[in-house]
């Protein structure tokens, strides 16, 4: 008997089932099909300005910084200012996201590089799939547009998120993922990011910048 068959046989013996019970199959198929929501905290169940305000507060609670611009065209200047204010070099790596590509980077003195990171970049920018106000979390999906390495290798990570993509709760983001990728399918990687990298492994002291970015900066675009 293969390990697989053995394990299934043992599970079924322990549960007192044989795996062919129609009712059990029905229950499982139904749950996978309907994916019922559980308890959704009231905190995130706000809309409009209130939701964006909550998102920004929670982003700051996670020790990231956040700023707001009134249009996508203002993003490059805003990021250049952020880097200057922190005495960081005017370099920036990004993927091929059409929303980022359409921004007027040549208005700034930023030296732009494209493609995934090989681990030597100081600064990178990614565009979020969405934001979650409940906890100040950014939802990133992997693709050449926004390579996963940009989320982790640079010292300073900047995430651009459209105000209209900020949801109240995680479940709303899953609905959008299903709409974009199909029910039961996922992009290779979805990263939820809540604040900059940190560790408490030495004497339970919170230190930022463990292996991932030391700084996380979020730019909310009103449009």
């Amino acid at each position: 008997m293969s390990a697989r068959d053995d394990i299934f046989a043992n599970i079924r013996r322990s549960l007192g089932v044989n795996g062919t019970e129609k009712i059990r199959h029905q229950i499982v198929a139904d749950r996978l099909e309907r994916s019922p929501k559980g308890v959704i905290p009231k905190r995130g169940q706000v809309s409009g300005e209130e939701r964006i305000a909550l998102f920004k507060t929670m982003v700051e609670t996670s020790l990231a910084t956040v700023t707001e611009v009134s249009s996508a065209a203002e993003v490059p200047q805003s990021i250049a200012l952020f880097l200057r204010n922190h005495n960081l070099p005017a370099t920036l790596r990004m993927g091929d996201d059409p929303r980022l590509n359409a921004m007027p980077w040549s208005d700034t003195a930023l030296e732009i590089a494209h493609g995934p990171s090989e681990g030597r970049d100081l600064n990178a920018v990614s565009h979020a799939f969405g934001g979650i106000a409940e906890s100040g979390t950014l939802a990133m999906v992997s693709s050449a547009d926004n390579p996963s390495t940009l989320n982790f290798l640079p010292d300073n990570h900047i995430i651009v998120v459209s105000a209209k993509d900020i949801a109240g709760d995680y479940e709303s983001v899953w609905n959008r993922v299903r709409f974009a990728y199909g029910k039961g399918s996922m992009p290779r990687t979805v990263n939820w990011i809540t604040g900059p990298s940190r560790s408490g492994d030495i004497e339970q002291t919170l230190l930022l910048g463990a292996h991932g970015p030391r700084r996380l900066h979020v730019v909310v675009v009103r449009d």
Binding site: A3, D6, S14, V28, S135, T137, V190, N191, T194, G200
Partner: protein, 477 residues
């Protein structure tokens, strides 16, 4: 079985731990940090208790249908281009992992934090076969340098102080300037970051655990604060996920419920920094990520726990809240438990996995104060399960002879209420008389082990039953 256990020597381990000043200093951090932070996070979310109920129900539902959700999960992983392997036990799991590493001619393997990888002892096996495993979670990295097991399931190096870490770094990082300043924890972190960054970039295979597996989508999930698990899995050509079979949940909605209680219970965060959902290998639309994606599903004793009293233990999501709140853990730390899983969850799980004959001391290492159960995010009745183990230990005559005869003696009196009342009255009266001057005893016959560490207060002369009777009649009047 798996990694070596010193659980049979729990009493000696505990005695040593109580006299270890470095350890006692480090354990002070556990008491201060975790408890308040968890409470604050719970207080900030009015739905927290309802979410704990939901978390419990999701895990129960999944366990009842585990065979079917596993089938669905397996199908989805394959559909996304990944490979699923099944391992009955630790040895099978080790061979599967070694086989994948050999296929890719791997020389170094980076590792995200994974308790199941500790359970199956993979590091030693890889080393024995010429492959270098590199732990990348800061705490795991430190204990790997020291050749130790984690002493806590989410804070593996919680038993150490910064000066000890500094000594280890100086001993191992000999390529760096011997005169460098490492007096601040942040300097230690920066050094580890730089050393491990090179390891990440050079690794051939990345091994992570999984906090959850999603049947709906074939997704594995890791939760970290450092980002090490992500660098482990996106940089090398091959990503291997190690997961025990009870990590399954049905849907993305279900896992979102569990994630709402996990970080709050563990570190008191609203959400951990990085929650990563991985489904299969790199796609044609991706510019980075692993080309090969393997999942090793490990049973190692779980399937036999289903349908027993210990099935409830399979709900555990490894948050560590039980040990953070345990007075015994606070006193002796994690290593005294002698195997991979310490604290109350370890006291229940370890006898299931390595046998009550070896780990029988662990369920006895509890005052049954109930704090662990009161904070468990999936409401595992840990004291009840420890009591089950004590009963089994007694039934199987594994309990020491002195304890057995003591219990028999007590049983003799307890079954004869008149005699019991008489004997306790006589004993309390005698003790009250003998201790009337000092009000306490520094020494008592047959209780040396107790009075060695603290005084025994002298009874007031009345037994509990007498007082109960008196107060009841007083209230009735």
């Amino acid at each position: 079985m798996t990694v070596h256990s010193t659980s049979p020597q729990f009493k000696q381990n505990a005695a040593r731990a109580l006299n270890d000043h470095q350890l006692q200093k480090a354990l002070g951090n556990v008491k201060q940090g975790f408890i308040d932070k968890r409470q604050m996070a719970a207080d900030k979310l009015p739905e927290f208790e309802a979410l704990r109920d939901a978390a419990r129900d999701i895990k129960n539902h999944t366990l009842e249908h585990l065979d079917l959700y596993l089938e669905s999960y397996e199908e989805k992983v394959k559909a996304s281009g990944g490979h699923v392997h099944f391992a009955r036990d630790a040895a099978e799991a080790r061979e599967i992992i070694l086989g994948i590493c050999r296929e890719t001619n791997a020389k170094t393997v980076t590792k995200g934090k994974s308790m199941i990888s500790e359970e199956i002892g993979i590091n030693h096996h890889l080393e024995a076969n010429g492959i270098t495993p590199v732990e990348t979670d800061l705490g795991e990295y430190i204990i790997q340098l020291r050749n130790e097991l984690p002493s806590h399931i989410i804070a593996p190096a919680v038993h150490l102080n910064a000066t000890q870490v500094e000594e280890d770094f100086r001993r191992v990082h000999t390529h760096l300037d011997a005169k460098r300043d490492l007096s601040e924890p942040v300097q230690l972190l920066t050094e580890a970051r730089a050393v491990l960054r090179e390891r990440f970039l050079a690794a051939d295979v990345g091994v992570t655990g999984a906090n959850f597996l999603v049947a709906e989508t074939g997704t594995s999930i890791i939760v970290t604060n450092e980002g090490n698990g992500d660098l482990t899995q996106i940089l090398p050509k091959t990503h291997i996920v190690l997961a025990s079979i009870e990590k399954l949940v049905p849907t993305l909605e279900d896992v979102s419920q569990l994630l709402r209680v996990l970080a709050r219970s563990a570190t008191g965060q609203e959400m951990s920094v990085y929650t990563t959902f991985s489904t299969g290998p790199r796609r044609s639309t991706d510019a980075d990520g692993p080309e090969n994606y393997h999942v090793v599903l490990i049973d190692n004793g779980r399937s036999s726990m289903l349908g027993t009293a210990f099935e409830e233990m399979l709900r555990c999501i490894r948050c560590g809240a039980c040990m953070n709140h345990c007075p015994v853990y606070h006193a002796v730390g994690g290593h005294a438990y002698g195997w991979v899983y310490p604290g109350p969850m370890g006291a229940v799980l370890t006898p299931s996995l390595i046998g009550v004959d070896k780990a029988g001391h662990l369920p006895n290492a509890s005052t049954f104060c109930g704090r662990c159960e009161s904070v468990c995010p999936v409401r595992i009745p840990l004291p009840k399960l420890m009591r089950h183990w004590r009963e089994r230990e007694f039934e199987r005559h594994l309990t020491p002879a002195t304890v057995r005869s003591g219990l028999q003696l007590w049983g003799f009196f307890a079954k004869r209420p008149g005699l019991y009342r008489f004997a306790t009255r006589a004993a309390m009266g005698a003790l009250s008389f003998a201790g009337r001057q000092r009000g306490r005893f520094t020494w008592l016959p047959m209780a040396k082990g107790w009075t060695k560490y603290r005084d025994f207060p002298a009874p007031q002369g009345e037994t509990f039953q007498q007082r109960w009777k008196r107060e009841r009649s007083g209230r009735a009047a």
